[in-house]
Assembly symmetry: C2
Homo-oligomer: 320 residues x 2
Amino acid sequence: MHPLPTYDDVLAAATRIAPQAHRTPVLRSRLLDERTGAELFFKCENLQRAGAFKFRGAYNALARLSAGQRRAGVVAYSSGNHAQAVALAARLLEIPATIVMPHDAPAAKRAATEGYGGRIVSYDRYTEDREEIGRDLADRHGLTLIPPYDHPDVIAGQGTVAKELLEETGGLDSLFVPLGGGGLLSGTALTVGALAPGCALFGVEPEAGDDARRSLREGRIVHIDAPRTIADGAQTQHLGELTFAILHRAAPTVLTATDVELADAMRAFASVMKLVVEPTGCLGFAAVPHVPERLRGRRVGVILSGGNIDLARYAALLNS
Amino acid sequence: MHPLPTYDDVLAAATRIAPQAHRTPVLRSRLLDERTGAELFFKCENLQRAGAFKFRGAYNALARLSAGQRRAGVVAYSSGNHAQAVALAARLLEIPATIVMPHDAPAAKRAATEGYGGRIVSYDRYTEDREEIGRDLADRHGLTLIPPYDHPDVIAGQGTVAKELLEETGGLDSLFVPLGGGGLLSGTALTVGALAPGCALFGVEPEAGDDARRSLREGRIVHIDAPRTIADGAQTQHLGELTFAILHRAAPTVLTATDVELADAMRAFASVMKLVVEPTGCLGFAAVPHVPERLRGRRVGVILSGGNIDLARYAALLNS
C-alpha cells in the first residue's frame, strides 16, 4: 500500500493543478436556504474542466509522472468522469491515454473521452473486473495505471475542492460530499482535518450500494455487487485501501440517498439554481434534509461533484 | 415622453441595486471557444435573483419611488420575468404589487410571482392589450405603473449588466444581447457607448417577430402581431418610445434567430456549460455563428438573459 497522503500533499496538488484547473464558483440560493433553514454554500464542480472534480486528481497524478512514464502512456478504468479527466489531463500533458469504460457508460461521457483523444477499451460492468483489465493492459504495454480513487496523488488532488470552498466561505459547520469509491471524501477529510477540524463531515452514497457505511461500521472494506442506481458515478463495489484507511481515521458520518431523492435534488438544481447536475453530483444535497438538527442557522457546504449526463437521460429524469 | 436616460443613470442604478442584486459570474467554455473560433464571455443573468436580468431594472425603478407611491403600490405587465422581478423587488422594499400576466405564461413564472407575494391579474396575450389593462388598474387604484422596458429607470438598471461584464473582461470586440422590447439592449447601448465605443453591439430577436430590425431600418416603431416563438420573453409587439430612441441613435446591428437555433443553443448550454438557460436567454448566442467575420480570435461577450422555464417544457425542448 502507498503511504497515506496528508494535507501537505493537498497543498502541493493545489499548486500543481492551479494553471489548468478552474477555481469553480461557490453559489448560493436564498430559496434553498429558506427551504432547509441553513446557509448553504454550493461548490460547483459541475463547472470544473471536463465537467467534474475528477480533473483535479487526474491532473495531479499525471503531472507527477516521470519522463519515461509519460512516454509509455497511462491507462485508467472509470464509469465516466475519471475517464474524461484522465483523457483531458493526458492531452494537456501530451501523454497517450487508454481508458477502460463500461459498455453502458453514458454516451456523452464516451464521446467526451474520445474527443479528448483517449483510446477506449470496453467491458461489462456486471460480469467483468475493470481493475483486472486495467492491470493487464498496464503489464502488457508498460502503461502506468491511474486508478479512479485509490491513489495518493488522486486523493490529494480531490482534497483541493474543500480547500477552495473553506477558503472562500471562511468556515463551515458541516459539509456534504458525494461518496462512491471515497476519493473525493477522503481528500476532503484531509483538508477538513487541517483547516476546519470542528466541521462535521458527511459522505453520501446511493442507498442501493451502502458499502461505505457498512465498511466504516464494521471496520473492514465491505465488497458488494455493482449497485443499480441512477448515480452512475457511485456504482463502486468497495472503498479502496487508502480511502478506507483515511475515512476510518476521519470517521465521517455516512448517509444514503434514494434515486427518488436524487431526482428531486436534480430538479431543484435545474429550476432554482439553473444548474445541470448529474445524479451522482446530487448525492450531497439529497441527504441534507436527513440531518435537520445540523441545519438551522448553520453554515452548510455541499459539493456538487459533476454535471456530465446525456441530455435525453437528463430530460427523462426531469420528467420522472 | 420621459427624457432619455444616460450612462450617469446606469452608474446611479449600479449603486442603488448593489445591496440586493447579484454580481453574476462571467463564465467561459473552451469547447464553445473552439467551436466558434472566438473568445466567448458569458454573462450569466440566469443566475440573477428571480432568475433574470429583469430584477436590476425593476429594483432600480421601485427604489426611486416616493413614500406615497410606495404606500399605494405598483402594477406591472409582463410575460413573466419582469413580473417576478417586480414582485421580488416590491417584497424587498415592502411595496404592494399587482402583476398583469398572460394566462398562458409558464406555470413556473406564475408560481414564482405569487411566491414573492405578487397579486396576479390574467389576460389573453393574443386578444387583449396588457398595457391598457395595466394603465386602467393604475388609474383606478392609484398604482404606479412599472413598464417592462420603456421606462428610464428600468433601462438604466438593465445597463448595469454590460457595465459588470465590461469591467470584468477588461473590454470586448463585440457583444450579443437578447432583444424583445429593447430594455436590455438599450441599457447595454448606454453602457457600451460610454465604456467601449469600439465594441460592436448586436441585438438578437426571434425570427418570428423581427419588429426591431424593421423599426431601425425604417426609422419608426413598427408594430407586429404577438409572434409565436419559444422565446416567450421576446414576444413583444413593438419597441418602446425610449428604447427606440436610444437604439435609433446607437444603431446596433439587429440579427434574428429561429426556434431551432434557440433550442440548439439551449442544449449546448446544458451539455457543455451545465447551465439552464431559457429560450429567450439563448437569443444572443444563437446568432453568434451568423457573423463569422466577427469571431476569429476576437473577444465576444454574450448575455444570457434568464433561466426561468417550466421543467417539463425544458425537458421537451432538450429532446426536440
